[in-house]
């Protein structure tokens, strides 16, 4: 009877195989010593700077600027700056190990909440057509500072990895 029961148990080799498979599935964390996974191919470098400069130039030289034009253009510039920040954040993220990635994620999450607070504090024309312009330009200024900061960190990281 005992022998029959033992024969129903899987072999030690099978147990080891299943354990290894389950471990691999439930524990996706990489070995910290491993190099980070490539999220973005290294030769893919999207650029938004030219379109941003072009919009900025038009904003500065256009003769007649209605409030709607100013609001839309300012929002477009803010969106572009935010997109540039997003790209830089992803590029920086892929150069970090798991623990550093978590730190940067938390840091960015906190910063995003603060950015909104800062931009909102600049709006004095509540309920008026000037409010979107006040918000968008403050949002952009704060975002540009953060972009410069992350770009600097990315440049340092790239030099270090070379």
């Amino acid at each position: 009877m005992a022998r029959k029961a033992l024969s129903l148990l899987p072999s030690p080799l099978l147990i080891f195989f299943v354990f290894a498979l389950v471990s691999a599935c439930v524990s996706p964390q990489r070995d910290p010593a491993e190099s980070p996974p490539q999220l973005v191919p290294s030769d893919w470098k999207p650029s938004l700077e030219q379109v941003q400069t072009s919009i900025q130039d038009e904003l500065e030289t256009k003769a007649q600027k209605s409030q709607q034009y100013l609001n839309r253009t300012s929002q477009n510039l803010s969106d572009l700056t935010d997109a540039r920040l997003f790209i830089t954040y992803i590029l920086l993220m892929q150069n970090l190990d798991g623990k550093e990635q978590k730190t940067l994620f938390d840091e960015q999450k906190n910063w995003l909440a603060k950015r909104d607070e800062l931009a909102r504090s600049e709006v004095v024309s509540k309920g008026g057509s000037l409010a979107p312009l006040e918000y968008a330009s403050a949002f952009r200024q704060v975002t540009e500072k953060r972009l410069a900061e992350l770009e600097q960190r990315l440049a340092q990281m790239t030099r270090k990895n070379k």
């Binding site: 904003l59 600027k65 409030q67 709607q68 918000y135 200024q141």
Partner: protein
């Protein structure tokens, strides 16, 4: 504030130019700004701009009730506006654009709606504070459209009291326009500087003594306003 139909029309046309660049205004204009609740993106619509999470539902209700060309198509959206985000609903935005561009009923409804939402509150404020001159009405209306009110922080920067508290109307308007002009021209956000075309237009009218808005055309941001 007793304005003639012509004086009121001039006020509206000057503001239309400031806001949209044209005397008629842009009734089909749609902009997307992240100024909804919790800073979510929302639709901003119409000649003087009302928002999805603000009063757009009221405007569309008025239009649906008026049996405009697109009223039936917009009716199902009434229960969604301000509840479900419509910022990425291309059908909804197309209907708003088409109605603003092609349906005179939508233009008439917007005129009534923006009059009730902006012009009348501005004139009520002007009445309470003892203003009577048409140019004062224009300056106050502009302030309500641009800043949502006559901001208290600007009123604290000049000495003259409003007429209802014994001040001189023309002096108050002149000082308010100068104060507003300095605030916009020297704002820490340089992108606000170009908006001084509004206060510069008022300064020109003050300097030519156009208190009853009878001297036409009025040059507003490079566009001639004739009141016709």
């Amino acid at each position: 504030m007793n304005l003639t139909a012509q004086q009121k029309r001039i006020c509206e046309q000057v503001i239309n130019v400031f806001e949209t660049g044209s005397v008629q205004g842009d009734y089909s204009s749609i902009s997307i700004f992240p100024d909804g609740p919790g800073r979510i993106r929302q639709v901003t619509y119409g000649r003087s701009q009302t928002t999805e999470y603000g009063n757009l539902d009221e405007l569309i209700q008025m239009y649906v009730d008026a049996n405009g060309t697109h009223s039936n198509e917009l009716r199902p959206y009434l229960e969604k506006i301000g509840v479900t985000a419509l910022v990425d609903d291309s059908q909804f935005k197309r209907l708003l654009r088409d109605a603003g561009k092609n349906d005179p009923k939508m233009r008439q409804i917007q005129d009534e709606f923006f009059d009730k939402r902006y012009f009348q509150p501005a004139m009520a404020w002007a009445d309470q504070n003892g203003f009577t001159l048409p140019l004062s009405a224009l300056v106050v209306y502009d302030s309500f459209i641009h800043s949502g009110s006559v901001p208290e922080f600007l009123r604290k920067r000049f000495a003259e009291r409003p007429p209802a508290r014994g001040g001189n109307e023309k002096t108050w308007v002149q000082q308010y326009v100068d104060t507003r002009n300095n605030w916009l021209a020297n704002h820490s956000n340089a992108v606000l500087h170009p908006t001084v075309y509004r206060t510069q237009c008022f300064k020109q009218q003050i300097s030519r003594g156009n208190w009853d808005l009878s001297q036409l055309p009025i040059k507003a941001n490079g566009v001639n306003v004739l009141g016709g």
